[in-house]
């Protein structure tokens, strides 16, 4: 199994597209996630994160393009893929009449690589009562059960779709613990989509920003943050910005203050900005992930 997939990326999407009616929810998406990395997919609501993940998991037929995971075509070998992937979907619809222990028994029968030890560790970590029926579980416990089912068969590729939406802070931390334990297993690739940028910063090596079905950014997080800076300047009286630096992703003029966010920032770009525009006071600001994300999205909305 490993011999076939050595050197191949864990996830390979090429030209993936999905149309609903006349809207393209996902538009020509190409993406590669190397093995062993943790990839965080972020984007505003409706950006196409869940649609992309569903196509990757083979539960939604793409309009165009191809999805491959662990070297397998997602539509041609769905059963084999699901043996090796752990999927936590956005909404959880485990049979409400089943007890936790029955859910576990059902899933144990399905997965060849089910690991009872992992399962027991997760059960203990999440303090789930095996005798409880799913309909009596709180939202937080249901999400944890979904995670338990997804990772107890030691998948090579856990895929989590906005798993922490709607959880209280304590449940989130406990869930994060569970996710971290799976990340700590060597050789595992993890893909997760989320709104919580703090979690992306903590857990992911690489981040992808999705907007209106297109991938705006796909970079290593620390490289992205190091390379994206906001320059705040004061325009001289009567002057307006004349020349935007290369790689401008967002800009705003408010009174005399002109702020511009630049990707792949360099001292040369700063110099060029000073020389080509009528500005006085210049300040370079480092940005956190939330600011970078917002600036990319706002910039795209403004047509930059």
């Amino acid at each position: 199994m490993n011999a076939e997939t050595n050197g191949q990326p864990a996830i390979h999407l090429s030209g993936l597209s999905k149309r609903f009616g006349r809207t393209w929810a996902v538009d020509d998406l190409s993406l590669e996630v190397p093995r062993g990395s943790t990839f965080g997919l972020i984007g505003p609501n409706g950006a196409g994160k869940t649609t992309t993940i569903k196509m990757l998991m083979g539960v939604l037929r793409p309009t165009a393009g191809r999805a491959e995971a662990l070297g397998l075509d997602v539509l041609e070998e769905p059963v084999q893929l699901k043996q090796r992937v752990g999927y936590v979907p956005e909404s959880h619809h485990i049979y409400r009449w089943m007890r936790v222990e029955q859910v576990i028994g059902f899933c144990r029968a399905a997965f060849e690589s089910w690991n009872d030890q992992t399962c027991q560790e997760m059960l203990d970590l999440f303090a789930l009562d095996p005798r409880k029926k799913v309909k009596h579980l709180s939202k937080g416990m249901l999400v944890k059960l979904s995670l338990l089912v997804a990772v107890s068969h030691d998948p090579e590729l856990p895929v989590l779709d906005e798993p922490m939406a709607g959880l209280d802070p304590l449940a989130r931390e406990e869930f994060l613990d569970g996710v971290l334990r799976t990340i700590c297993e060597r050789g595992r690739t993890v893909l997760f989509s989320t709104h919580t940028l703090d979690d992306v910063r903590r857990l992911a090596d690489t981040v992808g920003i999705l907007y209106e079905g297109r991938l705006l950014v796909h970079r290593n997080i620390e490289e992205l943050l190091a390379g994206t800076k906001r320059v705040r300047t004061t325009l001289r009286d009567g002057a307006a910005p004349e020349h935007l630096p290369d790689g401008t992703i967002w800009q705003r003029v408010e009174g005399r203050e002109w702020s511009v966010t630049v990707s792949d920032f360099s001292p040369e770009k700063l110099q060029a900005l000073r020389e080509e525009n009528a500005v006085d006071h210049v300040e370079v600001i480092d940005l956190g992930l939330e600011d970078v994300f917002k600036d990319f999205v706002k910039g795209k909305r403004a047509g930059l």
Partner: protein
């Protein structure tokens, strides 16, 4: 696989229990009445056979219509889609209960029929045989049409409704054709026209079952 069958049983359990009641209650009632008024035996069991067989065919429509669309309606199909079961495995688990139910329905009713008729002189042509064949084909049509609807749609209730209504609509259509072609009811008694009609229903059943199954196997979404 056994877990899948267990799951399927739990999902269909209410319908199976309802089916058991519908199957047996008429006969139990008839038995009770016969014990009280023994000379009404034949009438009672005629009635119980009628009710039991007719309503049991409805149960087949319930089983067929709920099989796939039921899990889409409560979205548990999405949970199943996360697990490494193949479509064929799902199909196999779902197609166990309906033939089993049909077998039990006919075994019980035919046994009752034989027991009740055992005293009567054997006639050359049992009108009951024709009637049983009609009911059997009606049941098959109910099941196959609701199964097809279940494969395509996302509402179990709607699938069941389609399964129950379609054969009647087709029957009315055939009746309209008869009226238009100015054929009388005598042609029906002839047996040939009757065979044609039964043939139409058989073909309808086969087409519905095969196309629904083929679509389900090809479909990517849960």
């Amino acid at each position: 696989m056994s877990w899948l069958i267990w799951k399927e049983y739990r999902v269909q359990r209410l319908i199976l229990i309802f089916g058991a009641i519908v199957l047996l209650a008429p006969h139990v009632t008839a038995l009770a009445l016969t014990l009280r008024w023994p000379d009404l035996q034949r009438n009672c069991f005629d009635g119980s056979l009628y009710f039991s067989l007719m309503f049991s065919q409805v149960v087949l429509a319930l089983l067929g219509g709920n099989a796939i669309a039921g899990e889409r309606a409560d979205r548990s199909a999405e949970f199943l889609a996360c697990l490494p079961f193949s479509r064929r495995q799902h199909l196999a688990s779902k197609l166990i209960f309906s033939p089993l139910a049909a077998t039990i329905i006919w075994v019980v009713n035919l046994s009752v029929l034989c027991l009740v008729r055992s005293g009567a002189p054997s006639a050359q042509h049992h009108p009951e045989t024709d009637w049983c064949v009609c009911v059997a084909i009606m049941g098959l049509t109910f099941f196959c049409v609701s199964w097809c609807a279940s494969c395509l749609l996302e509402s179990g209730v709607f699938s069941i409704a389609i399964g129950l209504v379609t054969p009647w609509v087709i029957g009315m259509g055939i009746g309209l054709v008869f009226w238009w072609l100015d054929l009388s009811a005598d042609t029906l008694d002839d047996g040939i026209a009757g065979s044609w009609i039964l043939g139409i229903y058989l073909v309808l059943s086969l087409v519905c079952f095969l196309s629904g199954t083929a679509y389900y196997l090809r479909r990517v979404e849960p």
